[in-house]
């Protein structure tokens, strides 16, 4: 199928798709006026009954906590997939690739980048921990804080040489951290079941709403998810980086 024919075929199909979108969306109520009782019920109940002030975290980890378990394992499985795809095949010779394109000079890392990265590592780390632990109080949560923590690790890579970075952040540690975070979710759920409720049904005392100990198990799940996401994102990005850097070192 030639490119021209493909384009014309797409334009015709896109016109048909646009017409079907139009017919479907015109049946919906106007945006902003859709009526839903489930959402209003969760909003009304989240502070009095659950003591959680961030309704989205309440939905994620308490009302629909089981779905978030699936979501975390989607992330875990994709990190495993990326590691498998980027693994260096043992049978390919290491000297086969050219690590420098002809005529392209790789500049050394500038001092400005190093200083800025060094200054930013600690605040980013602190901010990531703040977002993870205050997930049930203000907007934030395990996933967002986890990615910010992974960014802090990568800033560490920017301001150090690769060898120093590898010594500071060994691969095993990141892998174990990620696995621990993923297991923590299931272990907390099992502990809830063992304490006489259902899987992931809260049994810890709900603290005062607005403090970081509010919400019972939601605070613990946030920590587990933050650890897992930080480890997962760091592993995925390091898998992309690793072959790139080790070739340059030879």
């Amino acid at each position: 199928m030639t490119r021209g024919f493909r384009r014309i075929f797409f334009l015709v199909s896109a016109a048909a798709l646009a017409v079907s979108f139009f017919l479907a969306y015109s049946q919906l109520e106007p945006a902003g006026r859709v009526h839903s009782e489930y959402g209003d019920m969760v909003n009304a109940l989240t502070v009095p009954e659950l003591h959680i002030t961030d309704a989205v975290s309440a939905v994620n980890f308490n009302v629909r906590g089981f779905d978030t378990l699936g979501e975390e394992f989607i992330l875990f499985a994709s990190v495993v997939g990326v590691l498998l795809l980027m693994r260096r095949q043992n049978e390919e010779p290491a000297g086969d690739h050219e690590d420098r394109i002809d005529g392209r000079i790789v500049p050394p890392v500038s001092d400005a980048v190093r200083v800025m990265a060094m200054l930013l590592v600690a605040p980013t780390f602190l901010f990531g921990i703040y977002i993870v632990t205050h997930g049930q109080v203000s907007p934030g949560g395990g996933f967002q804080g986890g990615v910010i923590l992974a960014t802090a690790l990568l800033l560490l890579y920017l301001c150090a040489e690769y060898n120093q970075f590898r010594r500071a952040v060994p691969q095993r540690l990141v892998e174990v951290g990620e696995a621990l975070g993923a297991a923590a979710y299931i272990l907390i759920g099992a502990a809830c079941a063992g304490a006489g409720g259902l899987f992931l049904q809260n049994f810890l005392p709900l603290g005062k709403s607005g403090s970081i100990t509010s919400g019972g198990i939601v605070a613990l799940i946030d920590l587990g998810v933050g650890l897992e996401v930080c480890g997962g994102v760091a592993l995925a990005v390091l898998a992309y980086l690793e072959e790139l850097v080790e070739e340059k070192e030879q």
């Binding site: 902003g32 939905v59 979501e71």
Partner: protein, 114 residues
Amino acid sequence: MNHLPYAVAAWLFLAGLWGVITSRNLIHLVICIGVIQSSSYVLLLAIGYRVGRVAPVFVDIPANTQAVDPIVQALMLTDIVVEVTVIAILLGLAVQIHKGHGTLNPDRLSKVSG
């Protein structure tokens, strides 16, 4: 405002699909798949929004203030996680395809045998 978010969602979907079909580079194609996924964000956002209400965070406002729908926002969070996982794996596949076939052009890939 009445139906503009739905129209924008449809436009994002069609624009991303156009990018996928007329792409000459596998990495460009993967990014266009990301644009298609962002059309679902706009659609969910439009469904969850209530005119005149505030964000569903009650840390500094009284607890019985009317707020937007938080269930749909939780769905959007899962959607964003799925986007990053899909794009990570697709980029890994693109890199492996380039290692095996030497080219990132989807038109030239179909002619390689074996």
